[in-house]
């Protein structure tokens, strides 16, 4: 797999490639977030977490150019993402949306090759480079043996790997994933997240994912963004920012935090609250152990 392109080196070194600056986001008249500023550190695996309806998917949609902010700008390589042509953005920033549908009968190889669209033209429909990149993307995601199977016949985990392969074929240094593990069982969740981690570690891509599971977020993220009510409550290395206070503030959940014996990352254990006792939460450990 070829790595990210070289545009990053042209930027000022201290400005990340993808930044949301003072964003006001919403749908129609309903405002979801106001004055939201988020920077995605280059080369990070950034994970956005927060309770339902906190605006995390909305933020991802804005960063992906799917939603135009009411105020503020999303800057990709220093330029307003909405003023750049869609196809040009799609060569820098890939997306795995929640709502992807594979048309009936479309095979895995055909779906993955659709990722080449931003690199193709009317008279340049299938170059050798396209072929090589698609083969590599299928190899990287372990779907080569599925190549001729229709996508609609695959299991949920396989299907998600195929969609990730399509996004990889796009060859973008930045990749956004909206709840990539939703509807998957635990083994497939881990499989997808391991794949993401590999793309980050081995290929140097910058990943941004919205996840629901706080434990998985803390385990896989190099940069965690915790949101509540349209605000960023905390952002940074999960080992540093995941505390009982933060979990209480973001999710309203009393908890204990221990060290994940596998990875050393914070592991959040919800406190026991049995009905019938006088409602006092179980003792909590202040701060990270």
């Amino acid at each position: 797999m070829t790595g990210p392109d070289e545009k990053g080196t042209l930027m000022r070194p201290d400005t990340p490639r993808l930044v949301g600056d003072a964003l006001t986001l919403g749908y129609d008249r309903r405002t979801v977030a106001e004055d939201l500023t988020v920077a995605v550190p280059d080369g990070s695996f950034t994970v956005i977490i927060g309770p339902n309806a906190c605006g995390k998917s909305t933020l991802l949609r804005a960063l992906a150019r799917l939603l135009r902010p009411a105020r503020g700008t999303v800057l990709l390589d220093g330029a307003d993402i909405h003023r750049r042509p869609a196809r040009q953005v799609a060569r820098t920033l890939g997306l795995l949306p929640q709502s992807a549908v594979a048309p009936d009968g479309l095979t895995v190889a055909e779906l993955v090759s659709r990722g080449r669209y931003p690199h193709q033209g009317l008279l340049r429909q299938w170059s050798r480079e396209d072929e090589r990149v698609v083969d590599q993307a299928m190899a990287d995601t372990g779907v080569v043996e599925l190549a001729d199977r229709p996508v609609d016949e695959l299991s949920g985990g396989q299907r998600q790997r195929v969609w990730i392969a399509m996004a990889l074929a796009q060859q973008t240094p930045l990749l956004l994933l909206d709840e990539p593990t939703t509807y998957l069982d635990i083994a497939h969740q881990v499989e997808v997240l391991d794949l993401c981690a590999r793309l980050h570690d081995e290929q140097g891509r910058t990943l941004v994912a919205v996840l629901h599971d706080l434990h998985q977020a803390a385990r896989y993220a190099t940069h965690l963004v915790a949101m509540r009510g349209g605000r960023v409550v905390a952002a940074g290395d999960p080992r540093r920012i995941v505390t009982t206070d933060l979990v209480e503030e973001v999710f309203g959940l009393p908890c204990r935090i221990i060290e994940d014996p596998e990875t050393g990352t914070p592991l959040v254990l919800p406190a026991v609250r049995r009905s019938g006792t006088d409602g006092e939460p179980a003792p909590t450990v202040a701060g990270r152990c």
């Binding site: 060569r91 709502s99 992807a100 549908v101 009968g105 669209y117």
Partner: protein
């Protein structure tokens, strides 16, 4: 999938099956056309037909072929191709196999335009113009009602069904307002008919096809394919979603409108042709060219049936497309349901 690589970095990707369907359909339609030109009260042998088409033949043959029969045939081919193509675009954009211009109200809008002329009075040119205008106005209305939120598939279909219901009511009211003779003529027009169609009917449809097919539809076909995976996926791949959708919808509405102006609202063709094309090519995606070819061949065949099936009596072609198209579709959908689940 065949890949053609040419010097200079050019490369083309072709599906052999779609190519075969397109070519075979075209040949079939042309062969059928030669036979059809020869058929009638004054039969002409296929060889003589070809001679006339090549510029020769006897004066009588020339007159019958080029003045009497060919215009109707060309109208049938052009209207069929336009409806097949427009139907494929509509089904692709709405991501719904029933999302055809008949269901969405564009055809009813064209009928409303034509009926207004019948009531107010006017010649056949005014009627054709009003039909086209009615179809386009309905397309704009659909976009105004459903377009704000990005013309999502479901919303467009539901709004379209509502618009169709309203227009059906309006059309019924207009029919009751028309003088009796005109109402009979209007009812015939509403069925869809190719009877007495001349070059003046065929040329606008041919013109629309010549401009819209390459400029909008074939150039946008890859983007339309991606749109079938959902707006977000397509946008993520760099498709300017709104622009592609407006262009494709506009082109499809225009094709349906000029087709209705030429032959009336021929029912079920726009719905059936893309289904049949997809069955034949087995290719995902809108199947634009195969749908156009299948539509042309279907309408030509249906018109021949309409002219010759009942001896001594011509049927409007809309009756044939309605009966056959509707029946085929019901059979197809019933079979698919039973087979899949």
């Amino acid at each position: 999938m065949i890949v053609l690589r040419l010097p200079g970095g050019l490369s083309l990707r072709l599906r052999p099956r779609a190519l075969v369907v397109g070519l075979a359909g075209t040949l079939l339609a042309l062969a059928l056309a030669v036979l059809a030109v020869g058929a009638g009260d004054y039969p002409i042998a296929p060889a003589d037909v070809l001679r006339v088409l090549a510029g020769g033949g006897s004066p009588a043959d020339r007159f019958i072929v080029t003045e009497l029969r060919l215009p109707r045939l060309v109208t049938a081919l052009a209207v069929g191709a336009a409806l097949g193509l427009a139907g494929a675009v509509f089904q692709s954009l709405t991501r719904n196999p029933l999302g055809s211009p008949d269901v969405l109200g564009v055809t009813s809008g064209a009928a409303t335009g034509a009926l207004v002329v019948v009531v107010v009075g006017g010649g056949s040119a005014a009627l054709a113009g009003a039909a086209a205008a009615g179809g386009l106005a309905t397309g704009l209305l659909l976009y105004a009602l459903a377009g704000r939120h990005g013309v999502g598939g479901h919303r467009l279909v539901l709004v379209g069904i509502g618009v169709t219901a309203i227009l059906t009511g309006v059309n019924g009211w207009l029919l009751t307002r028309a003088p009796l003779m005109d109402a009979a003529r209007a009812a015939l027009w509403l069925t869809g008919s190719l009877d007495g169609r001349g070059w003046a009917n065929a040329l606008p449809v041919l013109g629309a096809l010549a401009v819209l097919l390459p400029a909008v539809l074939l150039a946008r076909a890859p983007a339309l394919r991606l749109l079938e995976m959902g707006d977000d996926s397509a946008a993520g791949l760099g498709v300017p979603v709104r622009r592609v959708r407006v262009a494709a919808l506009g082109a499809a509405v225009l094709l349906v409108s000029v087709a209705a102006a030429a032959a009336g609202p021929v029912s079920f063709l726009a719905l059936t042709a893309p289904h049949l094309a997809r069955r034949l090519t087995r290719a995902p995606g809108p199947n634009l060219l195969p749908s156009a070819v299948v539509g042309a061949a279907l309408l030509l065949a249906a018109d021949q049936l309409a002219q010759h099936a009942v001896a001594g009596r011509q049927l409007p072609v809309g009756v044939v497309t309605g009966v056959l198209g509707g029946g085929y579709l019901a059979w197809l959908l019933a079979g698919e349901r039973g087979g899949r689940r």
